[in-house]
């Protein structure tokens, strides 16, 4: 052990109460930092998981209209035109097969599902509700969503085997008083078709659960009278964070608009972002307190140990050694505080995850959501380290500046 570290340890153990004080502040600072980050990002992560599990990472829709073709008058398409950002779009994906095989070329793409969507009126024996029908290929769609985990009644195999089966959102089913096995009518401009509820799903997202009815894509085609083309292609990615870059590239290559989840859910995501920034500020205050406590402890030890400083200096210990002795003390408290704080953080995070907190509407959960992320621990320790060490530099340098002559005469200030 270096002489300076040895001296630092002894100074600390001689001042147990002050040391425990700053130690507990550090433990608290690190622990609270971790718990706060775990809960804040817990909800954000859960939200992201929910939206990715429902609408996938990317959505390819609306063909970008070529300038040439627009001059020719958009030959023979019954898809609608629309203008956005100065670009002309033709609604929907006219040739899903070609687009999907092009999508498969992207190494980050893990699944694709062509979806045909249309507005319908759902008629049950009880009442009518307007809704949207989503025509899907079940197996393809399971690769781009968590639909299999969202089923709350009935099961998917029933749907797979029933040509006129349907998956109805929980809210919609409740409103229409539909149960698994009940039949209902889908009405498109007066054309009626009968379906049977194979299963009821719940995503937790209110807008989805009250409006979507999933049916097999062929049924949707005859219902909506769309023999070719689809409304959009839902795409899943291996690395979800790369969605914006992939989307930009896909838009370029496929000549279809591609919207990543980050853009689609911008409003909610920025709300979460604001929340995590505000919690980061709160949490920095905790570590600031740890820093202040350390400052206080060290300033006190420096005052009490001026004579020892004079003795050390008389024996040839340099200013640098004195600084080091005091910084070591801070580092020791910090190291112990970081380890205990991380433990407190982990235990606290676990305890919080048990707190009941039913939320429904943007996602569905019964308890507090937490995220277990090693980075929170790294961030907490780093923040505490910066605060504590920054706070220690002042007393440590003050101790080093003391002149041995002034100390022994008692005129050091």
């Amino acid at each position: 052990m270096s002489p300076n570290l040895r001296i630092a340890c002894r100074f600390l153990t001689a001042k147990k109460r002050a040391m425990l004080m700053s130690l507990s502040c550090t433990v608290l600072g690190v622990g609270l930092f971790i718990v706060t980050q775990a809960t804040t990002s817990g909800f954000e992560d859960f939200f992201i998981k929910t939206i990715l599990g429902t609408d996938g990472a990317l959505r390819i829709q609306d063909q970008i209209q070529d300038t040439l073709r627009s001059m020719n008058g958009g030959a023979g398409s019954d898809f609608l035109f629309s203008h956005r950002d100065g670009v002309k779009y033709i609604e929907g994906v006219e040739e899903p097969k070609a687009v999907i095989s092009a999508l498969r070329e992207f190494s980050n793409v893990s699944g694709t599902s062509a979806v045909l969507r249309g507005n319908v009126l759902v008629r049950s024996s009880f009442k009518n509700e307007s809704a949207q029908v989503f025509g899907i290929d079940l197996d393809e769609h399971l690769k781009v969503s968590d639909l299999n985990h969202q089923i709350v009644q009935g099961d998917l195999s029933t749907f797979r085997e029933a040509p006129t089966g349907a998956l109805v959102g929980k809210v919609l089913a409740d409103r229409l008083q539909l149960d698994v096995g009940n039949s209902f009518l889908l009405d498109v401009q007066g054309q009626l078709r009968r379906f049977r509820v194979s299963a009821i799903y719940e995503t937790g997202i209110a807008d989805v659960d009250k409006a979507r009815v999933y049916v097999h894509i062929n049924e949707a085609r005859s219902l909506l009278k769309k023999p070719i083309g689809v409304t959009f292609i839902q795409v899943n990615l291996f690395d979800k964070n790369r969605a914006p870059q992939d989307a930009a590239q896909m838009q370029e290559v496929l000549r279809h608009s591609a919207s990543p989840w980050q853009e689609r859910e911008k409003a909610w995501l920025s709300a979460f972002r604001a929340l995590s920034v505000s919690s980061a500020i709160t949490v920095s205050v905790f570590t600031l307190i740890a820093g202040l406590a350390m400052f206080n402890t060290l300033a006190m030890i420096v005052l009490e140990k001026t004579k020892d400083i004079a003795i050390l200096r008389s024996m040839g210990y340099e200013r640098r050694d004195i600084t080091q002795i005091f910084l070591w003390q801070a580092a020791i408290v910090l190291a112990i505080g970081a380890v205990l704080g991380a433990l407190v953080g982990a235990v606290g995070t676990f305890a919080v995850s048990l707190i009941p907190l039913p939320i429904n509407g943007i996602f569905k959960t019964e308890t507090f959501q937490v995220s277990w992320n090693a980075w929170h621990y790294v961030e907490a320790v780093l923040t505490a380290a910066i605060m504590v060490m920054a706070a220690s530099i002042i007393p440590a340098r003050r101790a080093a500046r003391l002149e041995p002559g002034d100390i022994v005469r008692g005129t050091a200030q």
């Binding site: 002489p3 001296i7 020892d308 024996m315 040839g316 340099e318 002149e403 022994v408």
Partner: protein, 228 residues
């Protein structure tokens, strides 16, 4: 005649003022002093005449307002803190008049402290030397006592042992026998004189004890900031 071995310690025309503003006092008024290796010097004089102040200057713990100090032929009065600190560690052993030890450390730790900083010896050799030094001041059986568990006289003897730790060329001791009984004063004084003779160290001590002073090679009486 030029001496091939430089003087261990030399100071010329040292001035030191203490205090601020109205309370500013001219404590040292042109002190000139030389110490050779192998000699024991006693500085005597009434309380408040400036003995400790002079010793701090000679020990490079304080800086003079005028004059020159040379350690082993090297002028130190104008050098920077790092050079003075290095000289303190390697060439000077200092015994303070009051508060001798770092009280939270054992006697052994206190004696090893200067050795650990200098880092010349192996850890085992340091421990061995520390034990030997404590033995020579009569504390061989109390090496593991903390400073707080030692009497004033015992602390003073540990401080003497510590001042000898790095075999400094100059030993400056401010009343090293102030708290000791006759037997222990004699032991500490004998130790210091033996070192001066055997190892060629220059010993400068401040004392109020006439017996001790008389046994030194040279006595420098001081009054009101100057040698008389």
């Amino acid at each position: 005649m030029a001496d091939p071995v430089p003087l261990a310690l030399r100071c010329a025309n040292l001035h030191r003022y203490l205090g601020q503003g109205e309370g500013r006092v001219h404590v040292l008024k042109g002190v000139t002093f030389e110490a050779q290796r192998g000699q024991v010097y006693a500085i005597v004089g009434p309380s408040g005449c400036g003995k400790s102040t002079l010793l701090y200057l000679l020990g490079l713990l304080d800086q003079p307002d005028g004059g020159e100090i040379a350690i082993n032929g090297q002028t130190m009065s104008n050098s920077d803190d790092a050079a003075r600190t290095a000289a303190r560690g390697a060439h000077i052993g200092f015994v303070f008049q009051f508060h001798f030890l770092m009280l939270e450390f054992s006697a052994l730790d206190n004696v090893m402290m200067p050795m650990r900083k200098l880092g010349k010896l192996s850890p085992a050799a340091m421990i061995e030397r520390a034990h030997a030094l404590l033995g020579s001041v009569g504390l061989g059986d109390k090496t593991h006592r903390l400073g707080t568990q030692l009497s004033g006289g015992e602390q003073q003897r540990v401080a003497v042992a510590r001042a000898l730790a790095n075999e400094p060329t100059i030993i400056l001791a401010d009343e090293p026998t102030g708290n000791l009984d006759v037997k222990n004063s004699a032991m500490v004084f004998d130790l210091l004189t033996r070192l001066a003779k055997d190892h060629g160290q220059a010993v400068v001590l401040v004392t109020h004890n006439p017996d001790i002073a008389n046994r030194c090679d040279l006595v420098r009486p001081m009054r009101d900031g100057v040698f008389v």
